[in-house]
Symmetry: C3
Subunit: 418 residues, 3 copies
């Protein structure tokens, strides 16, 4: 995962254009992703797919001809979606087009102007302060022309038509945690799911944030009823603890599954209530879409200083954090895959477990061990109403323990799957 992020890091992505396209093509080396090109001008609910943005070069040079801000040095240096520009101007004319971070003087901010024609440069506060009154040459060799918005999608077919959505935004230029980390985790999770004959059908979507998600939703509107739940994957490589942001209802299966897994991992984690700000969980939660989509990140957006700056680079993320994030994702979807509902074949009193090898034969002892308690709980709750996660939560046992008991009871013919 780290190597994939490293390969993608240098590319200048945006919500459209060749950087985005190239990124998705690289993912095709990893998983059988299908690329979709949605033409500029296509309506997407209240939005329209914008003109495609491509950039070749951009710089500001001083009167000595020295490039003092240079896109070739770092692709964050250009205001993302800058219109083409070629002019000479004084500092006071240039100044409104320069973006820096006074509080973090060595970092370049990430700034965009997707839907408002503008141009600009992002630079460190030190660079800005070192710029004397001078006449500067400003060059942005970009294009904003009819083209397409590109997104990638992989459907992993399951036994059931019911779908699970995994969404990673992939529009940011050289920002490692946001969101090469999320892309890498979903790629790896997709590979694992693809090898596992899953119960649910998984749809893994790699699209630009906001407009990309909105475009994907508008292109798939008639299909959305099949999506049972989903997860937005982002910010999964930093050293922070995992943070789960709940769906709007707060008690959807994806919430219950994620929180059960996080509670039983024995490492600290955080929970955030839903709010209609953040990543694309806000689109899925809009009143007309209304799909329960959670979000599992490490440190959330805006909560770490390197967020949306040049300091969100490959040193901010680590293979071990990515692996830890992946393991949590795997556990959550394993739980969802195995979360069946059962019916007790012997609903009147407890069945005789001893004769089936499911209970100790000598009586009179104290409290039974967890496996035996799990067997008793599954029998007690197997009325065709409670799923195994309900039973795990109620009993205080781990999902795996309860699911293991259910497997034993099915094998003994005592319960059946509903």
């Amino acid at each position: 995962m780290y190597a994939l992020a490293e390969r993608l890091y240098p590319i200048c992505r945006s919500i459209t254009g060749n950087g985005l396209r190239e990124t998705l093509q690289i993912l095709q080396d990893e998983i059988p992703l299908t690329l979709h090109e949605i033409p500029s001008g296509t309506a997407a609910f209240d939005w329209v797919v914008p003109r495609e943005w491509n950039i070749r070069d951009a710089y500001v040079s001083n009167s000595n001809g020295e490039k003092i801000i240079d896109f070739q040095q770092h692709n964050l240096h250009v205001l993302n979606y800058s219109t083409p520009m070629k002019a000479r101007m004084r500092l006071d004319e240039l100044r409104p087009h320069l973006f820096s971070l006074p509080d973090m003087p060595d970092w370049i901010p990430h700034r965009t102007s997707y839907f408002n024609d503008n141009w600009g440069f992002c630079l460190t506060q030190r660079q800005l302060e070192a710029m004397p009154d001078d006449t500067y040459e400003v060059v942005i060799d970009s294009s904003l022309e009819p083209g397409a918005l590109t997104y990638g999608e992989l459907t992993i077919p399951g036994e059931s038509d019911e779908q699970v959505l995994l969404f990673a935004h992939c529009c940011h230029p050289s920002l490692a945690n946001d969101n090469l980390s999320g892309i890498a985790v979903v790629v790896e999770l997709a590979r694992i799911l693809g090898e596992s004959s899953p119960r649910f059908t998984y749809r893994c979507v790699f699209a630009p944030a906001a407009i990309g998600c909105i475009t994907w939703l508008s292109q798939n509107l008639s299909e959305l009823g099949k999506i049972k739940l989903g997860m937005v994957a982002a910010l999964l490589g930093d050293s922070g603890e995992l943070t789960y942001k709940k769906t709007s209802s707060g008690n959807a299966l994806i919430d219950r599954a994620s929180l059960h897994v996080l509670r039983h991992r024995n490492v600290p984690f955080h929970t955030v209530e839903f709010s209609p700000f953040g990543y694309d969980e806000r689109q899925f939660a809009s009143p007309g879409i209304n799909i329960p989509v959670g979000r599992l990140t490490r440190t959330p957006n805006g909560a770490y200083p390197e967020y949306h700056t040049s300091a969100d680079n490959m040193s901010l993320i680590s293979p071990s954090a990515l692996a830890d994030s992946l393991s949590a994702y795997c556990a959550i979807f394993a739980l969802i895959e195995n979360n069946h509902v059962y019916q007790n074949n012997f609903p009147y009193c407890e069945p005789q477990l001893g004769k089936r090898g499911l209970y100790r034969t000598t009586g009179g002892h104290g409290n039974p061990e967890q496996r035996q308690m799990a067997i008793l709980w599954v029998l007690n709750q197997a009325n065709g109403q409670h799923d195994l996660l309900d039973i795990a939560e109620r009993s205080g046992l781990k999902f795996e323990t309860v699911a293991g008991a259910a497997v034993e009871l099915v094998a003994a013919g005592v319960i059946r799957k509903v």
Copy 2:
């Protein structure tokens, strides 16, 4: 408000009679109140409107002819609703008819005997202790005769037929906080509402406690279905903090609105669960009436030492406390007036706010400010189900912020009122 209370203070009110009538006539100088005279003997559910009580004079004089208890000095000196009396008697005969407060030796208690024919005098403990064995002349120049129970009512028409009830009891003689303060606040609130073209129709009722409220309800039984919610106004002039007593369900709109306002005033306040004791909220909460009526007081009944004594005088209440109470009432009813439900015209994903001037045009920043969060919350929740108060409570934002966002979104054509 203080001046009105001062004007009303000297009058000897009761649940019927000229003092009550004069009080309501004085209110007619302030607001266009209609007075209703319900004849003695009129049935009011399980009750009957009693004979009208009027009093001209009352005293106890000693064998030297000195008036040692004198109604002319303080109208609390007579047991309210005392039957006429003229007799000479020894102290031991008089003693069962004397009421004092041993623990508060300088205060005269307020005592009544509305539905049980009796006579008596209230006096300070010091007065009582100073009374030697003697033969006393007892005079109560009162009348209990067929007449009427008087109440006043003002209906402020609104856009909607749905009604809001404001109730202030006005039966107490010279007690300032209980309830000249409540009368004054409702008078002022009625004046403000009357100038505001409100959405709801407001019914402001000034009636004696208990029997007056019961009589008003029995006279208006067929109309009660229109009353959506209400508030009992009492004890609003003392220096204590505001105290909201919930309706029986505890989560009616009047509860939610009052608690939201109180929580966001940034001064301490208290909440009391419903109980069927106190003021006339108990009548509104009776099983056959069942209207959600809250009660907003400062220090509640029985919780301050001056309660129902001569120390509840004009020095117990202050203009600033009355003004503070009025401001809370205004905020609560402003909230209720503005608490609309909206439908999102663009329910699929977020609408494009930037092109409507509702969102910053440069992207990449951290968390948005409250106005922007309010806009996102209203959009997310505008599904025709949640009122603005729901949205304010869920988002943690102030109602005004959320309502302001709704106004902007309506102006932009993004949402519509349901």
Copy 3:
């Protein structure tokens, strides 16, 4: 109760056999119990009534002919339900059939092998450690033959067909707290209920744990719909505090009644959430039976060191603990008996209480006393929906206070029983 337990203590009971039968016959000296004999081989849901076990003698003697483990000394010395045995063997052959408690070296454990043919001896750790390599004579003079499982039942008819179940397991040999204490309390409670013309019909069942309960349920399946609630009575003589284990729903009437009583006894108590382990509450909570049955013990099973050992003897239980347990049971069922629902005959506003002698006649005082508050609460809540326990819980008053107010209000014709 203590004397009855003392009489029953020496008998070697099991889930079938003469010890069980004799125990129930002794109970017939106390209450008019009916004994039922269910033949071996009778199906009971997934189970079958086992062969009847009887034992006359059992011992292990050493090569000197000395009995070193002797059933005549303590009936716990034999593994309950041991098959007949007569053999000579070396210690290493005997060892797998010896059960002791290494951590509690002076106590004999209680061990059983009801459904798996086996034989064995239970002994103290000190006895075990004192056994040299030797050749031992092993004698178990028992029989396992077709017979019957015996249980006893007493039905106390009530005004209503609705039934309340009291269940005490009675299969354990010489264990005092588990469950001679439970048997003794239910016998005494049955005597008290039998003298009281109860509202509900009470079914008091004394049966072996697990298989006895299952057999009773299978014999009464068509009748179970009449059982509204129940209680498992066990472990009621030790010095620990009372512990109530909730039903599966946790808010059944038996839960609410028990917790109300326990909260108002002014002594510490414990509450345990339902789990499908423990005593026969687990059978009643199985998905096909699903009767709300609580369990009131003192220290629960497995939570005291003497549990299922020879130290659970007559010195572990006391008359005062038994009496305290009985008083709690009596209070709980008195509450259930008196927990009526009422309808207010005067639902519009408060009725005039003063004229009915239900309210003080002089007005103006502070807060009323509990009796008056109970009257107001009952009137307010008497809408045919809330039972008295609801009203007690909501008002914070004791059930007895609220029930007393209801009696007064019925007498005055103000409310009526629904």
